[in-house]
Every structure is written in C-alpha cells, then in structure tokens.
C-alpha cells in the first residue's frame, strides 16, 4: 500500500502533520510507511492524502479515522473523501515544468528526484557540453527571469560569463516578498533539488564556483528542505570538488534574509548579503559586472532556475514552442483571494486571464461577481473583469498597466473596494521603501495619506488629479523598481475604477461596502424578529430599542454578521 501525505506549509497549516503521524503509525503496523510529498498546488483541497492511485482531499479528523480503517482493511467510509475525477482533471489543464515534481516526489529524497530524471541535465552540461552550448540552449528556450522584470536569462548569463575575473558567483533570489505570491516557497519546499540543479547548470555556464541562496527567514520549512537537499547533493558528489569527475567545482550555501521587501531588488540583495542595509544602488555597473563582493554575479529567482533542468533535458526549442512570440514557456501563478479553487497553477504564456480564473480557478467564491484581478503585487496593477480576455504575457499585461511580476494573481469580487486596495498597497510600499530616494520615501507617504483620507470619507475635490500627478513624479524620481512601480496600483485603479474614487469623494459612498467610515447601519424593522441579539452583543452599546445610534456606532459590523434574519441594512 502506497501512502503519501502532502506536507508543504499550506498542507501543514491545514493539519497534515497530525494526519501524517497517524497514517504512518497505521502503515507501520502493516509493515509499511507513509511518505511525505510536497505541495501539488491544489491548496483549496488541503490536507491531501494519496493512497495507491486514489486521492483523498479535505481530510478532517473524521476523514483520518476512515482512512485508518481503510488501511486496516476494515469497513470504511473513506470514499466520501475521495477527490472528484473532474476536480483532478483540472490539473490536466495545466502544463507543468517548474512544478513538475511538486506534490509528486518526496522533497527530502534525492533518490526520488533522480528517478524522475533529476541531475541528468547537470551531467549532460558538465560532461558533454561547452558553456557556449549551454547558454545557446537557454537562449533558444527564450527563458526570461521569472522574478518580475522578465529579463532574458541567457543575456545575464552571457554577460556574467564575459566579465573578466576568476571568481564569480551564482545567486538564487529566494526573497519572495510580493504579498500574494508563494510559488517560490512551494518549489523550494516541494522540489529543492530542481533549484540546485538549475544553479549548478548556470554556474557551469558562467564559470562560477560558489552559489548562494538568499531565502526569506519567514520560510523556515523551505530553508530546512534546502539544507537537507544541499547536504544530500554534497554526499553524492553533485556539489563540491570535481563534479561528475570533471574540472568543475561548485558549492552552494544559504543565507537567510532578515525581512526587507526591497532586498528582492538585485543590488539591494547584494548589499544585504554583504551585511549592509539592503538599499539599491545605481546600475550600471550591473551585478554581472560587479556584483557580490564586487565580483561578477548572476542573480535569477527560484522559478527561473527550476525551469533550467527541464530545458536542458528537453531542449530549448521544446520550451520555446510553448507561449507567445514575446513570452516563452510556462509561468506559475499563485491564484488567491476571492477565487473558488485557489492554489498554484502553471500554464503556458498566452492563455487568458479568463482561462485561469474561470476554467482552472473555478470562478469566484460564493457565486459573487468577478471584479478584477491584481497582478504583479505592489508593483503591479488591477486588471478589470472587462479585460479578462487579455493574454497573459509580458507585453499584453504591461499594456493594461499591470505587470507579470512574480506571478501573484489576487482575485477580487464586488465586495472588494478598489480605493482600499490602492491604499493597502501604498501602505505596504511605505513600510518597505528603503528611504534612499525622496520621491519614494516622502511621495508614497503623501499618496497614502490622500488615499487614507478618501477611504475615511474625507476625500475632496482635486484629490484624483493630485494622485495622478504625484504618481507620475514618484515614477520618474525613484532609483529602483520599488519606487518606480509603487504608484502602479493607484494608477491602474484610477484608470479602470475612477467611478469608485468619485463615489468615495463626492458621494461619500463605498459601493463595495468595504470602507467602514462610509457605511451606515440601520435595522430593517420588517425583517427584524426582535430577538435582541444585536442589542446584547453590540460592543459599543449603540443599539437600543432596535435603533442604531450612529453617533455611538463604531461600524464594526458585528450586528450584521450576527443577525440570522438579514435585518441589518448596510448602506
């Protein structure tokens, strides 16, 4: 009996640890054991258990006891937890390259990775290819950096190879900071060897002997699995001296970040590695010329490296067959927010937002209306539902005012206020601005103040114009991408949802009913059954005689949540 439990961070948070322990004990009783696998990306079905070829989902306490009976060969109701065939068919709508092993193999077993063809690509390069041929293969694939900017990977590799100097570095940017993006975490937790193999291949191509993975401290499981993977690779001679019996020597170590979003920017990341405050500097010189410790350094992110072994094994041409003219291959997206079936999806570039949200993601939770999707995190923008036939590639997304970014797709419905979303991102950027450039440090703070005022019901005539003007100034007056793109959430919501800004400012109304200071709560006496629950529970004591005293009401919304008869009206 083959039993495996998905133990990524999401699975564990949903209770996978306990399930694993219980099932493993049962399996041991019959002379077997349960295996750990990473995250399959169907987060909405967690916790997930595989027994033989069956998949059991949303396994709760009752579910575990049914599975225990199943393992013992007793009569059981386990079938109730079996995943629907249609549900699993959703996986076939995806094309998995970076995620190919995620949720399939045990991330803590190098043997399982090797069984799937792992380290063949590194061997092929090191024992049978020149560095020129490796870079040519990456060039043919059209792989671009998956971290956000979308710069061609081969170009950076070539530039680093061409830079003079004996000592060069390969750096993996695992400082995944975009709120709403977790593809890198999932890859590190579920298939760490793919990242190592990508880095080994890149190191061979540019002539580096040292690799560093800069990973967020907030990802303890990813760090633990990477450490284990590095140790295993060293034991097998895949890292260290004379790899595959060649002259090529390369080793990797991990540096834990200390929590600064701006360190996702390459020059800031290098400053942080060097023990400095993570503040970006002017480019050129580019890291490929003068990077870590002033030596040529190549920086790519986790997903970029994870694509490399597949490209070498299958050829660059196979990768470039997928996608559009300007964007090749596949891209992993973290589909979250008000989506029915959230998780990680990997699709070829060029499929539409509609495909991802409706076909793969199952549309909006609770049958509500799809309003917009936020792409590219704090540097990106909100794409409205009207543009859901936009093809997902670098160029088309840029035309909408959003960006591909690292692949966060936060879906929003009619209850999401777009002014509040702009405020939310500006709040984030203000906290994360390193403070070097005045426009970013002060300008974004002013943008935030205006947005807070509007959400607070104190917007005034001229605010919209001021927001646009200030946004443009910040874009031109900032050194790094953080500042240059910080106003994007404001600009895109102004472009597509100007009416919401106007409603807030002129009519003092939030149509999404999200900005609390703009709401009024009243009791509909026709629906009210006079149960007095709201009167008893109101924390402000604002409800007496079935009338809500607006001067006392703190607009916490508890009464509306509690009322079983829908008698609390929110306007």
């Amino acid at each position: 009996m083959k039993i495996s439990v998905g133990k990524g961070s999401c699975g564990i948070a949903a209770g996978a640890d306990k399930i694993f322990d219980l099932l493993n004990r049962e399996a041991e009783n019959i002379g077997g054991s349960a295996a750990v696998v990473g995250c399959i990306g169907m987060c909405y079905l967690e916790p997930i258990v595989n027994i033989n070829s069956d998949v059991y989902v949303k396994v709760d306490e009752k579910g575990v006891s049914e599975l225990v009976k199943l393992i013992r060969g007793e009569e059981n109701n386990a079938a109730r937890y079996k995943a629907d065939k249609e549900e699993l068919a959703l996986l076939s709508l995806q094309t998995r390259i970076a995620l190919q092993n995620c949720g399939v193999i045990n991330p803590e077993s190098i043997d399982e990775y090797i069984e799937k063809g792992g380290y063949e690509a590194a061997k092929k390069c090191i024992t049978g290819m020149t560095y020129e041929a490796v870079i040519a293969e990456i060039k043919a694939s059209g792989l671009s950096g998956r971290g956000g900017a979308g710069f061609p990977a081969w170009f950076k590799w070539q530039a680093c190879r061409d830079s003079a100097g004996e000592k060069k570095y390969i750096i993996c940017n695992a400082d995944e900071g975009d709120p709403g993006a977790f593809m890198d975490r999932a890859i590190l937790e579920s298939d760490p060897h793919a990242v190592l193999e990508g880095m080994i291949t890149a190191a061979f191509a540019i002539g580096a002997d040292e690799g560093i993975i800069y990973v967020r401290a907030e990802y303890p499981l990813a760090v633990a699995r990477l450490e284990k993977a590095i140790e295993q690779a060293r034991e097998r001679g895949l890292l260290g001296m004379n790899i595959f019996g060649s002259e090529f020597c390369f080793d990797i170590h991990i540096k834990a970040g200390a929590g600064a979003f701006v360190c996702g920017e390459e020059t800031a990341l290098i400053a942080s590695l060097e023990g400095e405050r993570g503040m970006p500097r002017l480019k050129p010189p580019f890291p490929a010329q003068k990077g870590y410790r002033n030596k040529p350094s190549n920086i790519n992110n986790v997903e970029t490296y994870a694509n490399v072994p597949w490209i070498i094994r299958n050829g660059g041409a196979a990768f470039s067959e997928l996608g559009t003219d300007n964007s090749k291959g596949t891209k992993v997206f973290a589909l979250t927010g008000k989506i029915a079936k959230g998780g990680l999806v990997e699709v070829p570039m060029g499929c539409t937002i509609r495909d991802v949200v409706h076909n793969i993601g199952g549309g909006i939770q609770g049958g509500k209306k799809f309003k917009a999707v936020q792409m590219g995190g704090p540097s990106g923008g909100c794409i409205p539902a009207e543009l859901q036939d936009t093809e997902i590639d670098y160029k088309s997304l840029a035309e909408t005012g959003a960006i591909m970014g690292s692949g966060g797709m936060v879906v929003m419905d009619e209850t999401t206020c777009m002014v509040d979303i702009a405020r939310f991102f500006l709040d984030f950027t203000c906290k994360e601005s390193c403070g070097k450039c005045t426009h970013c440090r002060v300008g974004n703070r002013r943008l935030l103040e205006i947005l807070e005022r509007i959400c607070g019901g104190k917007g005034k005539d001229g605010d919209i114009e001021l927001l646009s003007e200030l946004s443009e100034d910040i874009k031109t007056g900032s050194l790094c991408a953080l500042g240059q793109t910080a106003p994007n959430p404001v600009l895109t919501t102004l472009r597509y949802f100007k009416n919401e800004y106007e409603d807030h400012i002129y009519n003092k109304k939030c149509t999404a009913r999200s900005c609390k200071p703009l709401l009024t709560y009243t009791i509909d006496l026709k629906k009210c059954k006079k149960c007095n629950l709201c009167v008893k529970k109101c924390p402000a004591g604002a409800i007496t005689e079935l009338i809500i005293d607006s001067s006392k009401c703190t607009k916490c919304g508890l009464c509306a949540d509690l009322c079983k008869f829908g008698a609390i009206e929110v306007i």
Binding site: S9, C10, I12, A13, A14, C43, Y44, E46, E176, G177, D178, P179, G180, A181, F182, R185, A217, E218, Y219, P220, K255, A256, G257, A258, G259, A260, F261, S272, L273, E274, G275, E276, R277, G278, R293, A334, T336, G337, K338, G342, G343, Q374, G377, G408, V410, M412, T416, I421, F424, F425, F428, K431, E432, C434, C556
Partner: protein, 162 residues
Amino acid sequence: MNCNCNAELKRKLESELEKYADSGKGALIPILQKAQEIYGWLPADVLEYIGKKTGIKPAKITGVVTFYTQFRTKPAGKHLILLCQGTACHVNGSAEIESAIRGRLNVGEGEITEDGLFTYNNAACLGCCSLSPVMMVGDKTYGKLTRESTVKILDEYAGGAV
C-alpha cells in the same frame, strides 16, 4: 556586558562569533540572527559587545538592526504572533483578525502583553495565501481564521495547552 550577562548565553554568543571571526562585516546579519536566537531579542549591550568583537562600528550595527523587520530591540513574549497582512489575507478579512488579536491581548503592533506571554507583530506576507486569513504563532501556521477561532487559539496558548 552588564545586564543580560547570563554566562551561558554569553558563552553561546562567543562561540557563534568565533565561527564568523574571519568573515569580516559580511557576516553581520547572520551574527545578529544568531544573537537574537540566543537572547530572544537584541539588547543594547549585546550589540555593543558584537561591535567590539567584530570591529564593526556601533552606528553601522544600529543601521542594520533598524533596517530589517526581523530584528527586535525590545524583548519578545514567549509566543510570537505574526499576522499576515498579504493581499489575499487583506481581501479575506485580516482586519477582523487584527481587531480580534488586539482585543483579546490588549496590545498594539510590536507590543508585548503584560504577562509577557505574547508579542504581536504583523508580517508582510507569510505565503500561505490559499488559507487566508493566516497567522503564525511561534512556528505554527493557522489558516482560515475567523474572529472566534483566533480567540480560541490564543486562549489555548494562554492556558498552556499548546
């Protein structure tokens, strides 16, 4: 070091500093991470001591400590709460959870409870977006939080059940 001069902790810190003796200032962040692991936070005299041992100027150390959100210059409670403020959590109601935590513990962001049990911090994103809203207590992640479940979890910690 005057206060915090628990001999065992100091010995631990010294052995960590020795490991980085040849690394120059590039090792400052890992050293601070280790020091925080040992002490639970970064007291001023510990920073001063690190400066003396490594030759890194106090201004530089303070600059780095205040730049990164991971470093604490105030003591932390026994349980560190990290409430995710990511986009997915925001649209799925993290503000409610924040008010539940504040209400239950009577603390603001970055503060420690009177009994020293909890420190409450916000985090930019914990990367468990599909379970939003999410918080971590220590190294445990809790998802799909509601006002009620949040209070229940905190009660369990406070009662020593976890």
